[in-house]
Symmetry: C2
Subunit: 328 residues, 2 copies
Amino acid sequence: MTTPSWTIGIDLGGTKMDVGLVDHKGKVHNRSLVPTKAKQGPKAVVDDIITILKELLPENIKKDTLGIGIGIAGQIEKKTGVVKFAPNLGWVDFPLQEELMRQTRMPVAITNDVRAATIGEWQYGAGTGCNDLLCVFVGTGLGGGIVSGGRLLDGNSNTAGEIGHMVLDIHGAKCTCGNYGCFETFAGGWAIARRMKEAIAVDPTQGKLFLEMTGAKTVEDVTAKHVFDGDHKGSIIAKKVVQEVHEALIAGIAGLVNVLNPQRVIMGGGIVQRNPDLVEVIRNGVPTRTLKTASAGLEVVQAQLQGDAGVVGAAAFAMHTLEKKVLS
Amino acid sequence: MTTPSWTIGIDLGGTKMDVGLVDHKGKVHNRSLVPTKAKQGPKAVVDDIITILKELLPENIKKDTLGIGIGIAGQIEKKTGVVKFAPNLGWVDFPLQEELMRQTRMPVAITNDVRAATIGEWQYGAGTGCNDLLCVFVGTGLGGGIVSGGRLLDGNSNTAGEIGHMVLDIHGAKCTCGNYGCFETFAGGWAIARRMKEAIAVDPTQGKLFLEMTGAKTVEDVTAKHVFDGDHKGSIIAKKVVQEVHEALIAGIAGLVNVLNPQRVIMGGGIVQRNPDLVEVIRNGVPTRTLKTASAGLEVVQAQLQGDAGVVGAAAFAMHTLEKKVLS
């Protein structure tokens, strides 16, 4: 039996839903991007997926399609594909896999969106040919995916890779997760904005200058994007905040390199995509804080899939789960 | 072909060498414990191993022996079994595996001592039946071993598990590794002693009381053992240092639980063995700092092999490497 030519990849977010037909080389062909009707509940979202699939999958292609892979921002029960909790969608205990299999009569595989992106980079992006890699996604939050010895780690309850909630400062500030001093409180987008707001409060004169430079209307409007923008435009206080972000990324990733000994660190996420110079900062900085033996031969590279990461990653997860080749 | 009944396990340390004949249930039968002639160089150590093996392995048993497993405090090249660097032994680039295979004509498998202890606990100790576990060994240093998805992680250059050098305080004190704020600078035995010495300098009156209580002759003589002893005997400053150790172990392990999502955390090493109450402190504390989803169902238990860990772990490593059943 030959391997089917196509796999459906779905990146299911709280605001938009990205569905694509992906070939065996990780290339996206037909594609559909629509708003997610999160507020109307899971049934409306599933109905939309079914409608899109009918458009994307004429019968002749459906016959030659392996199945459907979904990456979703939330916690998934590995065995059943039940979405235990997806705060952005407002879902609790929704049996997405069962529901989609029933309606499509196709195999369905569901995973966390960060892990999907990790598999995408591993199989089709910056991680190809590498058995030991750490993906670090710096966006609003700070997420991660770990491939070790040629296997993606999922852990006991399918939550492995939550690197943003590794403690980086035992005496540190409160995190959105309830813990204190998490890596994310230094380098997640929300935290970068929070640090900038604090810096503005401490130095209102420089703060005013920063707001003018970046076009942020009020202190409340400041985002991580403004912070990096302010740094590029010469704001002294933005520069200081960005330097702290650098230090945190270096220290956090160095610790993970010591713990996991990856061959390659892949830096992705919106903040890295908009500030690719971060990759070199991390490449140069990490070896200054690691055991020499742990970072021998370490490569630090930028993620490659960019906007395709969600769809390609979800499809790649389906390929490897449904084909039972790599993942257990 | 039936599996051989016996495996040799060798725990090769800088001061002593522990060699045992281990059966398939992880039980140590004949055993020999001798000082390591580290100063006389690798040849003297290998000669001693050969002499001991002749005693422990009469021909009829040798025929029924799978091979030799060695756990050593140092960095091992996975493919060749070359000891790249073993500071306690003073070895650099010594081809131990090749040399022992040549002289014994038996298969030899070599790994890091911490990783050997992890496999020992996993196969024959507190980790049996568990596919996702984290071993934390608190001794003079702070070492770790990670089993994820039923595989021991070794990483790209065979150094995975160096949890003691994860950054726990980005603004923290210098570590022996050259980095700053490592987990080990809070909870490794050497660091606990250092923190106590600092506490004595700050409060000489309480410091004097502490020295009297614990029988430590001078400040320079203070070890981690004195610190825990002082805490039990009511020293205020020792209590404070021990509380800081608790906080650090909780924060550090919580971060690792978020990153790795183990089912079980196994606490071992000399300091835990002498202070088993640490296990409960960690069991109660870790879930207060983890994502709920990451610590759902988490068990925190004490290591079981104790004094046998080195020999049993080395033998277990050999069994699983040489039989190619579990490890790749």
